[in-house]
């Protein structure tokens, strides 16, 4: 197992549209092990996309369980553990939420981004089996952030004002 170096903005490789994965073989599975290790070694540790280590393929991993552990009892964070997302495609969007994001490829900067509150997506797993997921809240935000990476987009392309935003939550 090795960890990769995260490439940083303004590296052009972060701006390209990644290619779909065609072969679900041992090379892919080995790559996933290393990508996952790189994700957990990072400052956020909740998501990573292959273009962030310079691999132009539609592969991402999301795991927000570490955030869920820190969440308070009265505001539980729904999640489904580690999700390996190969050739992911969001098929349903619901609601909108403003939230603060940062990115391993854009160090020392955070900002507000609007994302769908709830999404349904299809993606392949490491074995090449198609899976369907419904995600909400923080997990949905992480998935959308990673899929953006596969389309050459960074959160700084989607920033909304840091000031004066109404940050009220539904659960108040």
């Amino acid at each position: 197992m090795t960890t990769y170096e995260i490439i940083k903005y303004p590296d052009e490789r972060l701006k390209s549209i990644a290619e779909p994965v065609g072969k679900f073989d041992d090379n892919l599975r080995k790559f996933l092990v290393d990508l996952e290790a790189t994700m957990y070694a990072g400052p956020g540790g909740v998501g990573i996309a292959a273009p962030q280590i310079g691999k132009n393929q539609r592969i991402a991993i999301v795991d927000v369980s570490s955030m869920a552990k820190r969440a308070r009892k009265n505001r539980p964070l729904k999640h489904q553990g580690k999700m390996v997302l190969i050739n992911p495609e969001i098929i349903e969007w619901e609601g909108m939420a403003i939230g603060r994001e940062g990115c391993m490829s854009v160090p020392d900067y955070t900002g507000n981004v609007i994302r769908a509150e709830k999404i349904t997506l299809n993606a392949y797993n490491a074995k090449g089996e198609q899976q369907s997921y419904t995600c909400e809240g923080f997990e949905a935000r992480a998935v959308q952030h990673e899929i953006d990476h596969l389309d050459g987009l960074l959160f700084i392309d989607r920033l909304v004002s840091r000031r004066n935003d109404l940050f009220r939550r539904k659960t108040k």
């Binding site: 909740v46 994001e101 160090p107």
Partner: protein, 173 residues
């Protein structure tokens, strides 16, 4: 070797101020760090981190043509530039209320006692002249955790002040 300065400029707001200042800085080989411009009650104000080869006096002289032309008050302090060390806020507090003296003092004192390290504060007065509305947003770090802040807020909350706290969960991925 260049030195870092905090440059503060205050004056009457008019079109093109920022462009004229930054052009002058650029022409004098200055680099910019973090900056914040605010228009407060029709007044222009900006704080800029500027790195410059000379001392504060030389920088002031370099800027004199533009600050004189725009009638801007200038203030320069030598600073330590702690760039690339942003602290991520984990809580946001909004305050809405009828405009009255002491609202900021009351809220910030209670929150400070409850362990809030304020990283960002901005406030505005809306509403109308006879019924002003005071709006304040604070972001900070809850040093003692969220719970003490929540109980502080419950104490402050009244029919005159509407205070809300929301955790900020920053997703870094």
């Amino acid at each position: 070797m260049s030195n870092w300065f905090m440059l503060t400029l205050v004056g009457k707001d008019r079109a093109g101020i920022v462009a004229q200042i930054t052009t002058t800085l650029f022409e004098n080989n200055c680099n910019l760090g973090e900056a914040s411009m605010m228009r407060l009650g029709g007044n222009f104000s900006i704080m800029l981190m500027v790195s410059y080869q000379g001392d504060a006096k030389a920088l002031k002289n370099r800027l004199a043509p533009v600050t004189d032309r725009l009638a801007l008050k200038i203030h320069i302090d030598a600073i330590e530039a702690k760039l690339h060390q942003h602290v991520i806020p984990d809580v946001r507090i909004s305050v809405l209320g009828a405009d009255r003296a002491g609202i900021v003092s009351q809220v910030t004192s209670a929150l400070s006692d409850a362990g809030l390290d304020i990283l960002d504060l901005e406030s505005d007065v809306g509403g109308s002249q006879d019924k002003p509305l005071y709006i304040m947003h604070i972001e900070g770090r809850a040093i003692k955790g969220i719970e003490p802040l929540e109980s502080a807020i419950t104490q402050i909350r009244s029919n005159k002040i509407d205070v809300h706290l929301s955790p900020i969960e920053t997703m870094i991925a």
